[in-house]
């Protein structure tokens, strides 16, 4: 088969042993790669009851069949392990060049077992791999680690996947980084790497990726670029990236302000795209093969927040900005740079600090608890002071380093300040009057805990043939958007959305070029690219079924490892508190939510507790999972 390399590495860190092997073809055909390949491997290999930060957890990084090809926006890599936050599935999806280079070097997946006796990094060069001492890298930032490895390997294009100091210190807010600032790994994937004494993976590859039908593939690539170029969404997104959301939600009073207590943020324009563009933008940055190039290099030239960096996303300006009541854009850029260098997730970190700020507001935390740091809303300097304390687990920072759910156990009465689902913070949701209720369902049911990237938010399935078929008519489908507060059909939309997201993360296509509102590629377009590249003929429906299979495997993982049931597919109480505000009716009716959840389970073929039925699992070729769920 073309596209895939068909090879993977099993790295036994405790013994320092590396075993190359072929990826079983049925895994490639049924799970594609990336997230799907990792999730199935995790389900197969991990025993229940494993400590996520212990040596029995496994850590994986995987590419997909389209990484390294010219299919647009196929830069993504997926890191996976048991989550240090939810105890269920943990993974993350990042961009840059790492996955491309891994493919060029000859591998689709790396699986790390055990724990190295001392700090190491894995060096891969064109089919050769070795573990090397990383004592000299331990303690270094993501930037310094990357440059140091490029220097000593004497090859600047060497690509580095690494953790910062926060990952080394097993901070549950730590992510994994490539290309210095491209990141993925909610649920503390960086902490899992750190727990294994694995500082980095450095890779250099010069091999080609075989293409089954080159002329057809080139034509499909150009057709994809044309679809993108002519989409209005692309035109906005290729300039503003995720920053376009601030104007959208700010003007609708739908921002998650002061830990989601309010939706109106008086200072939203100060942190919106226009303010960024006029003062701090250097230029756009593209991940490998991506014509969208939604990232941005930025620079704050002078003053207390002087900094430079990349990727100021909504993932910075919502959790660290609106959620903490901060409208100081240069300070937010400084925080973004600090998080990137220390290896912290801006989402979870911002959310955890917002939780602490609400504790402060309610008098549950006082200066004596916080090392005299004033946690008043909007205090940007306090956040900047806290970030290194979290990364190095110093003082009050050590409490926050555990994430809000665990921090709450040490702050009596603070449960009311939590905004978590399955232990994971609900990052950007506010149930304002214009908010589509499907987003609430998405955060409640995502497989890695509250999540903005698994359906609901970007609505990848909207407009696709399967959704149209399920809804029965164009009009019925359009009502899903035109009537954001109506509940009918939302469970169907979300199920298909989630399966599409599973598919994208497994082909390793960025979600910003796919589906939703015809802003990008639909499953059939992806099938055209996939079939021409690999020579494996599949339709869009076939690919979506793979997405559904992956969604079900992940659900099964969460049932087996985290005991997930219906009660876990929910939201914090504040989202169900209906109230009138100067900006309209806020909150979601809980009965409406439960009705949506019923529809979602029904459409999925899951029972009322959210457990996949035997029939559903059999239909997806998952009889082994049915056996385990029903016969132990």
């Amino acid at each position: 088969m073309n596209g895939w390399t068909g090879q993977r590495l099993k790295v036994y860190l405790s013994e320092g042993r590396i075993v190359p092997e072929a990826v079983p073809p049925e895994l490639m055909l049924n799970y594609l790669g990336g997230r799907g390949l990792n999730s199935r491997t995790l389900y197969d290999e991990l025993k229940p009851g494993v400590d996520p930060l212990g040596p029995e957890n496994i850590f994986m990084v995987a590419a997909g069949p389209l990484n390294g090809t010219a299919a647009p926006s196929t830069s993504r890599w997926t890191v996976s392990a048991k989550s240090t936050v939810t105890g269920g599935l943990g993974d993350g999806n990042g961009g840059g060049d790492f996955a491309t280079e891994l493919k060029f070097a000859g591998y689709d997946q790396i699986i790390f077992y055990g724990k190295s006796p001392g700090p190491v990094y894995l060096w891969i060069e064109n089919g050769q791999a070795a573990l090397r001492d990383a004592s000299h890298l331990w303690g270094k930032t993501t930037r310094d680690t990357t440059y140091q490895l490029q220097r000593e390997l004497k090859d600047p294009p060497v690509r580095v996947l690494c953790i910062g100091p926060s990952g080394e210190n097993r901070v549950r807010l730590a992510k994994v980084f490539s290309n210095i600032t491209r990141t993925g790994g909610k649920g503390g994937m960086g902490a899992v790497m750190g727990s294994k004494n694995l500082k980095a993976v450095a890779v250099r590859g010069t091999g080609p990726i075989g293409i089954a039908r080159p002329a057809d593939f080139l034509a499909a690539v150009k057709r994809s670029c044309d679809i993108l170029k002519n989409s209005r969404f692309f035109q906005m997104f290729s300039q503003q990236g995720t920053m376009y959301l601030i104007r959208l939600h700010g003007s609708l009073n739908d921002l998650p302000v002061r830990n989601q207590q309010e939706g109106h943020f008086e200072g939203w324009e100060k942190i919106a795209w226009e303010a960024f563009r006029d003062n701090y933008l250097v230029k756009n940055k593209g991940c490998c093969a991506c014509p969208v190039a939604c990232g941005h290099y930025y620079r704050v030239k002078e003053g207390p927040y002087a900094t430079h960096g990349e990727s100021n996303e909504y993932g910075t300006t919502y959790p660290l900005g609106a959620k903490c009541g901060i409208d100081n854009l240069p300070a937010l850029l400084k925080m973004n740079s600090i998080c990137d260098m220390l290896g912290l997730d801006t989402h979870s970190t911002g959310n955890t600090i917002a939780f602490a700020m609400e504790c402060w507001q309610r008098g549950l935390l006082t200066p004596g608890d916080t090392d005299n740091i004033d946690l008043s809303w909007g205090n940007a300097d306090a956040v900047i002071e806290l970030l290194p304390r979290i990364a190095y687990r110093q003082g009050f920072g050590a409490i926050l380093a555990e994430g809000s759910q665990r921090a709450s156990r040490q702050i009596p009465g603070s449960e009311v300040c939590l905004r978590t689902t399955k232990g994971m913070e609900v990052s950007a949701l506010f149930m304002g009057p214009a908010q589509n209720v499907v987003q609430a369902l998405a955060y409640a049911t995502a497989t890695r805990g509250a999540d903005h990237l698994r359906g609901g938010v970007i609505l990848p399935a909207f407009g696709t043939p399967p959704l149209l078929r399920a809804m029965g008519s164009q009009g019925a489908m359009e009502r899903l958007l035109k009537e954001p507060r109506s509940i009918e059909g939302k469970g169907v939309l979300l199920a298909l959305d989630q399966d599409f997201a599973s598919l994208m993360d497994s082909l390793q296509v960025c979600c910003f070029i796919t589906g939703g509102l015809r802003k990008g590629l639909f499953p059939d377009d992806l099938a055209g690219l996939f079939s021409a590249a690999t020579g494996v003929e599949m339709s869009g429906d076939d690919l979506l079924q793979i997405g559904e299979r992956i969604s079900n495997v992940e659900k099964a993982f969460n049932i087996v490892h985290a005991g997930n049931r219906r009660k876990d597919d929910t939201l914090p109480a504040i989202f169900f508190e209906e109230r009138e505000t100067p900006y309209g009716h806020v909150g979601l009716n809980e009965r409406d939510f439960q009705a949506m959840l019923d529809e979602f389970y029904r459409f999925r073929g899951w029972d009322s507790e959210g457990i996949p039925t035997r029939e559903k699992l059999a239909g997806l070729g998952l009889n082994d999972i049915a056996e385990r769920l029903y016969n132990g």
Binding site: A70, P157, K285, E310
Partner: protein, 169 residues
């Protein structure tokens, strides 16, 4: 004549051009086999674009002792006569913008041929960092741009690590 013009300030470093180039020429995707090369600057965005300028007075043609390289007067394109190439690398060393590469498996040099007049890379560069333009390769403007590009390539070779003081390359 219609030749390639590069605008590094518009380059986002995505390298889709490299993957499409090798796909069109070699039938597989490989940045190592691409005729256009992007060297990314992760930190400041000063990416380097390395591709043949199709010089009016080409250094590579002068450097080749075997007459492998020649310039077509009408199209302006400099092409490689693969049968004659010994893979000695003299042309690669002579090029001021590092636009020629060696195919190590076949031991021959390869370079941009403008895809016969409609470069595939230009079609997928939605930012316009690569563009096909009507230019006079012998004009003084083109020559001074080439000198500037050459200076930046040299600077990169000597010190590849990102430096915020640099200009776009």
């Amino acid at each position: 004549m219609q030749l390639m013009e590069i605008t590094p300030a518009s380059c986002t470093g995505c390298r889709l051009c490299e993957l499409v180039c090798s796909l069109a020429h070699e039938g597989e995707c490989s940045t190592a086999l691409s005729r256009v090369k992007i060297l990314r600057d992760e930190e400041f965005g000063h990416h380097l674009i390395s591709v043949c300028w199709q010089c009016a007075e080409p250094y590579c043609v002068d450097a080749c002792a075997y007459g492998v390289l020649s310039r077509d007067e009408e199209s302006g394109v400099i092409s490689v006569e693969e049968n004659l190439c010994t893979g000695c690398g003299d042309c690669i060393a002579a090029c001021p913008v590092s636009a020629l590469s060696l195919n190590e498996d076949r031991n021959i040099v390869f370079k941009c041929d403008l895809c016969g007049g409609s470069p595939e890379c230009v079609q997928v560069c939605l930012r316009g960092a690569l563009a096909l333009k009507e230019v006079d390769p012998a004009s003084s403007g083109r020559k001074s741009s080439l000198e500037e590009a050459s200076r930046l390539v040299k600077q990169y070779r000597e010190s590849p690590e990102p430096d915020e003081r640099r200009a776009d390359r």
